[in-house]
């Protein structure tokens, strides 16, 4: 397998497909739309097929980067094109490649206007997302990280549903850009010390403690907006509500994970001392996020907004788990990100199903759907319970491990975070009762037909994943285990050596 640049192939096949759609889809509007849909579907399926090679060929015992690629880019500046995945990033690549064909299928009928451009945007978006998780050079990473903004901005603004879509698109764009430019400065500052943007070299470099604090804050500005953490989360509900269904799926499924991935890839391993210093801040913000956004979710009248707030709460578990720096905590946070990527994506799709029929997201407009849409009721229930964290579903494993990690470090944080589980169950069950159960009294709901074959095809892989991750999580844990162990080991070594140094300095001062 060694000679094939499998990561670059996976990354760039979508954009090549987008190019084909751009050039080849011609004719009457109907044929253009049909061709664009099929071409996008095939492209994303081929990408998925390629990414399966990564899954099967991945050496689970190796903690380092695999499938590495290298090409000269700006040799004079030591900025080069490097790709590679380790146990932390590999599964995110698969998450992207799984979700994109599902998004294409989910938009099959609901997007009628400018289909060609829509599919092109999604494929470009896929390239950016995959590239971001594969990049092993900070500049390459940054380019993919920011490049996501352009297609997403267009998707929200052009195909968004609501009257506030433009506001939402601008807010999304400017919030994330503001965070990212600060990260750019941090990146430059690191580069000037190492004279290389190879992530492997950055990981091996020790930065001065004062400098670490500043760098950490700059990176935090970017990742905290992206993940998002309270109080910079406000772009997320707006963006989710206004985006088209598939846009919400990608936002919740992948874009939020970029922040978490950033913490794991950069903040924690490169800046360990600052991480230790800022851990209480992260805990506080996460706990506030969990409790506050759960309460806000309880009060929502809009289905997408409710799920958006629940996403913020779930990301709170992710950040807590990550910053415990325990094996269980980090396993839990990565697992929670993957699980949330599947579950919340599916929930947005489920909302999309009824939205396509009624064109309303208001909870009060629904009720009693169980009577004429039993299959939909079951699908919705599976994902609802996955989001609540019922044992046997993927959500349970992630939240449980994160909390186990938290209990080892700080009981109060774990206790407060655990209240989020209760609240989560409350708002999700409440949502479910109002939409699915009850009597079917509203006239405009009576004509609804149950899930079509296409819609079943959309949900089937996600249902399989939810149960697979819930019942046999080990096939995912074993992938990340080696890399996480190495991450923690390096972190502890760095903290230890910093402590030794400080003790040494103190001893010198005393003498």
């Amino acid at each position: 397998m060694g000679q094939w640049p499998i990561l670059s192939l996976t990354t760039f096949v979508p954009i090549v497909g987008a190019g084909f759609i751009f050039l080849l889809a011609r004719g009457t509007p109907e044929t253009v739309a049909r061709n664009a849909r099929y071409m996008a579907l095939w492209t994303s399926l081929i990408t998925f097929g390629l990414s399966l090679f990564i899954w099967f060929e991945f050496d689970r015992a190796n903690p380092g980067f695999q499938f590495t690629e290298y090409a000269e880019w700006f040799p004079a500046w030591n900025i080069n094109y490097r790709m590679g995945v380790d146990g932390i990033s590999m599964m995110f690549v698969l998450l992207c490649t799984v979700l994109t064909p599902i998004c294409v299928l989910a938009s099959w009928e609901s997007i009628r206007d400018r289909v060609k451009e829509y599919m092109i945007s999604f494929l470009i978006l896929e390239t950016m997302m995959i590239g971001m998780f594969c990049a092993l050079d900070f500049v390459v990473f940054y380019i993919f990280f920011e490049g996501v903004l352009i297609p997403m901005f267009v998707i929200i603004g052009v195909w968004g549903s609501g009257s506030r879509r433009i506001y939402a698109a601008f807010k999304f764009f400017l919030f994330t850009l503001l965070g990212s430019v600060l990260m750019l400065l941090a990146l430059i500052a690191m580069y000037l010390q190492t004279r290389d943007t190879n992530i492997a070299i950055l990981l091996a470099t020790h930065f001065d403690r004062d400098m670490q604090i500043w760098l950490w804050l700059a990176l935090f500005a970017s990742f905290a907006v992206k993940i998002p953490m309270w109080p910079v989360h406000t772009w997320l509900p707006d963006a989710h509500v206004e985006a088209p269904t598939a846009g919400s799926v990608i936002l919740a499924g992948v874009l939020l994970k970029m922040g978490g991935y950033g913490f794991l890839r950069f903040s924690i391993p490169i800046l360990p001392e600052a991480t230790a210093y800022f851990t209480p801040l992260v805990y506080t913000l996460s706990v506030v996020a969990i409790i506050y956004t759960s309460l806000v979710a309880l009060a929502q009248e809009d289905m997408k907004k409710l799920i958006a707030y629940s996403s913020i709460a779930h990301m709170g578990f992710v950040t807590i788990g990550m910053f415990t720096l325990t094996t269980q905590g980090i396993h839990g946070s990565i697992f929670q990100m993957l699980s949330h990527g599947v579950v919340s994506a599916a929930l947005f799709l489920a909302v999309g199903v009824v939205y396509d029929r009624l064109h309303s997201r208001e909870i009060a407009r629904y009720g009693g759907l169980w009577n004429n849409m039993p299959r939909y009721g079951i699908v919705f229930m599976i994902f609802m319970l996955g989001s609540v964290g019922l044992p046997g579903t993927s959500g349970f494993v992630g939240e449980f491990l994160s909390l186990v990690g938290a209990f080892q470090v700080n009981t109060w944080v774990a206790f407060l975070a655990a209240t989020g589980l209760v609240l989560g169950a409350a708002y999700m069950l409440y949502l479910y009762r109002r939409v699915i159960f009850g009597r079917l009294t509203k006239d405009d709901l009576k004509g609804f037909h149950d899930l079509s074959l296409r819609e079943m095809a959309v949900f089937a892989p996600l249902i399989a994943l939810v149960f697979w991750m819930g019942i046999y999580p080990n096939s995912f844990i074993e992938v990340m285990d080696a890399s996480v162990a190495q991450l923690i080991e390096n972190y502890e070594a760095a903290i230890q050596s910093a402590a030794d140094e400080a003790a040494g300095a103190a001893a010198v001062a005393l003498r």
Binding site: W73, I143, V158, L174
Partner: protein, 481 residues
Amino acid sequence: MTQMPDIAPALPEIFLALAGMALLMLGVFKGDRSTRLVAYLTVLSFVVAGFLLVSTVETPSRTFGGMFVADDFAVFMKILSLLGSALAVIMSLEFIEREQMARFEFPVLFLFATLGMMLMISAGSLLSLYLGLELQSLSLYVVAAFRRDTVRSSEAGLKYFVLGALSSGMLLYGASLIYGFTGTIDFVRLAETFAEGGQVGIGLIIGIVFIAAGLAFKVSAVPFHMWTPDVYEGAPTPVTAFFAVAPKVAAIALFLRVMVGPFGDLVLQWQQIVVVISILSMLLGAYAAINQTNIKRLMAYSSIGHMGYALIGLAAGTERGVSGVLIYMAIYLAMNVGTFACILSMRVNRRMVEGINDLAGLSKTNPLMALSLAVFMFSMAGIPPLAGFFGKLSVFLAAIDAQLYTLAIIGVLTSVVGAFYYIRIVKLMYFDDPVESFDRPIGRDMTLVLTGTGLFTAFFFLFPAPIMDAATRAAQSLLAG
């Protein structure tokens, strides 16, 4: 007995001067019907001058008693100027014919302005600096007022002239102070004087400040920017396109040459000035553009902002900074030429429109133009992987390297503010419904310019090395000499 100076290094300029006079003769004899011919020949002479530039001159060399410098830096900047001018001439052709201002002087004035720019870029003393600058400025005053029967154009020309004369005066005054305190106007001798160290008198500092103010006027940096929006709006659009690109390149080149060259050892004296005008330009460029409704005014504020970013590199005063500015200017040129090609194609019912709202729904009526304009706008906002990002990256890199942290942080924050108005244009084109569709087709020349600059901006990231390496070499040559 005086010896004949070596004219080889100045061959491109000499050729251009002769070509300009020949074209003038041609125009006089053949009348205004020959405008198109003269314009094509002008472009041809730019191309020939470019060839002479890269092929004949061995660098670095100084001639005419040190008044004229030819080095890698000059070659890089001159090529940019020539490119900008040539593209501006091509873009203006259709416009001047349509708007009944097709007189043969028009391309010739562009040519003389370009000649002035090349002399500025190669200036080796305060005197040749001033000569080049004035040759450029006088030509520009005339083209700004070229549409003498409209009030707006005449006003633009007059405003530009009065304020330009003021700034030239300041520059001259500064030059005279420097001559008075050091006894020389030659850049090399000045650099030697300052390298010896010793006391830097207050008079000398004032002289440098005056020179910096005069140059800041030429690059339209805050607080000497007032003329820019009015002149941009009032001048005929192809002239605005010209103003936005080539003279800015030349003026930035001059700024670099003067500050880094003779005053390089006084960096601590002028660094604060450049930092302040850079910050102010970025802030004004970002905030004042938000409420604009005329796209030419918007571009004026945008260019003020861009000059602020370019000056970050100068403020660093290092080799990295200089090469950052050069990369920034190369990319700025492509983005601006492309944007102005779009603006020049904004016509409804054979009439030019300049309102930003006229762009609404462009993605439906003219998808290709909308796509290219979107690429330019995202690029100006500095979103990777488009070219503009690499420009910003290289100047911020220089700023952090020189430990100008505040400058860098303000720079990135204003770039976010600036992104707002750039993406507002994208929003208009893609999210809103069309009002009136623009006339089509937009013309062959325009399509060519648009596609070329668009492809460059979009795919710069694939092959950045040639420009980056050339910029590094140019920066080395500037600092060495």
